[in-house]
Amino acid sequence: MSPILEINNIETYYDLIYAIRGVSLSVEEGTITTILGTNGSGKSTILKTVMGLIEDQPEKGTILFQGKRIDGKDPEEIVRMGLSYVPEGREIFEELTVYENLAMGAYTRKDRKGIAEDMDRVYGHFPVLKDRKDQWAGTLSGGEQQMLAIGRALMNRPALLFLDEPSLGLSPILVREIFEIIQAIHREKTTILLVEQNARMALSISHFGLILENGRFVMKGDAKSLLMNKDVREFYMGIRSEASVKGYQRWKRKKAWR
């Protein structure tokens, strides 16, 4: 099976800042893949580069979506090919109603029947949006806004969905709810690429995981083995592996990839 998204050795600059330093990644159809990394490691930058949101980037490398080159294209065109992106921090249209926000998600589509079906599907995932469909989106709570952002992206009926930190700023209960919905979306044959800080939650629902540091992947593998990896557990989940008799760890663990 050929990968739905293939990134080959891309490099991205923000002016003089060398943010992505040669990253390759392939996402297999029908999987959930997670990119983990600390703040500033370049997780979101990878997604933004793929979506064409950073002008004149990537500097080097190629990006293939369903076998077609998409690097250097405008985001408008990439979205039309069936790749949707839920940006970090929701970015919903605050002064449009919830319904209008969802309708904008289906902007490129012409089939009224299919749009109505997908609208029902989104309301099925997020019943709260149906109750509030005539409210301005800016009046929703943070969690509801996140749901709206995901729902809006689904209205494009994407083959591949990018989620940029869906758990950002949400309470633990809401985080669990959002992750359950992500799994439900995945069961409906949508491939998902997830970027997260919440390593344990993200890995527990994913098939594959990659770890990004300073613009390079330092580790990749299937999610289960990453969950068991001692470095990952210590540095991304905060689980100290051994404690001394005094009850605290007296040495600092070094990462195996450094």
């Binding site: 949101l53 405008d74 992106y85 940006p87 249209f93 605050e94 309708a103 490129t108 494009n156």
Partner: protein, 291 residues
């Protein structure tokens, strides 16, 4: 009392023009964040074009006016595409200077082609007939201005509220990046807003040119329209309309009861006052982003 009501009615009629100019400026301001000072002169060019076809070629009104409105749309699109989009790393100040430059160029072209003297637009509705409603007089021209303005506002409302393109326009105004992520071609939308704004301004120009037609005719309505837009918060279409009617009425009452010489300046006194008391304007809405 009758005198007072009469002045209010005339104020509303005058406010219609300000409302159109204010709407035109707000439409562009919301998408490009530029107060478009070339707005008046874009309308000026269109009015003179209409004059040329009506007066010099003797074409019928019902053919000329729609054609001019189409021309206005294309002119707006062209200016956005050819001039403003070319600006490298645009900032607000630079964009304002560009629109002022455009304004001078357009006015120069009109003065050079048609001369600076007063002209008379051959227009089917005369400013000297009047309608009598109860005991109030309103000239048929003023009545028409009011109707045209209401119709345009109605069309704009329906377009922005119910059409997919209109909603996409609002989406682009609110968050251009997110709009691109919906597959909305924001550059075309931006061009379209300039076109629509130009059409709205053009109707104002055509209405003004019935009583006053010379190259400086658009300055006063433009500034008043801008003032009305600021009064309404600069980002709210209904705000601009209400601001414009308020301004028209206040101005007329001031002219009637206080001083006719300072009638024009009262608009700016009102602006200063509003900016001191409520700097965001009367109708600006502001949403705090939730994290």
């Amino acid at each position: 009392m009758l005198n007072f009501l009469q002045m209010v009615v005339n104020g509303i009629a005058a406010g219609s023009i300000y409302a159109l100019m204010g709407l035109a400026m707000v439409i562009i301001y919301k998408t490009s964040e530029v107060p478009n000072f070339a707005q008046g002169e874009m309308a000026l060019v269109c009015s003179y074009l209409a004059y040329m076809f009506l007066d010099q070629y003797g074409l019928p009104v019902y053919a000329v006016f729609p054609a001019v409105l189409v021309f206005a749309f294309l002119l707006g699109c062209l200016l956005e595409f050819a001039v403003l989009r070319r600006a490298k790393e645009p900032n607000v100040l630079g964009m304002i200077i560009i629109t002022i430059g455009l304004e001078m160029i357009l006015m120069g072209i009109v003065s050079w082609k048609f001369g600076a003297e007063q002209k008379t637009m051959p227009f089917p509705v005369s400013p000297y007939d009047s309608l009598v409603i109860g005991k109030l007089y309103i000239s048929s021209l003023e009545a028409m201005m009011l109707c045209v303005t209401l119709v345009i506002m109605g069309i704009l409302f329906v377009f922005l509220r119910f059409s997919k393109l209109g909603v996409a326009m609002k989406a682009t105004q609110q968050n251009a990046t997110a709009a691109r992520l919906m597959g909305i071609r924001v550059r075309r939308i931006l061009m379209g807003t300039w076109g629509i704004s130009s059409v709205v301004g053009c109707t104002a120009g055509l209405l003004i040119s019935t009583t006053l037609m010379q190259p400086y005719m658009m300055w006063d309505p433009l500034l008043k329209g801008f003032a009305a837009a600021v009064l309404g918060g600069m980002t709210s279409l209904p705000g601009a309309v209400v601001g414009a009617y308020l301004l028209g009425i206040i101005e007329n009452l001031f002219g009637g009861y206080v001083s006719i010489e300072f009638k024009s300046t009262v608009a700016f006194a009102v602006i200063v006052l509003i900016l001191c008391i409520k700097p965001s304007g009367l109708f600006a809405r502001h949403y705090v982003k939730k994290v």
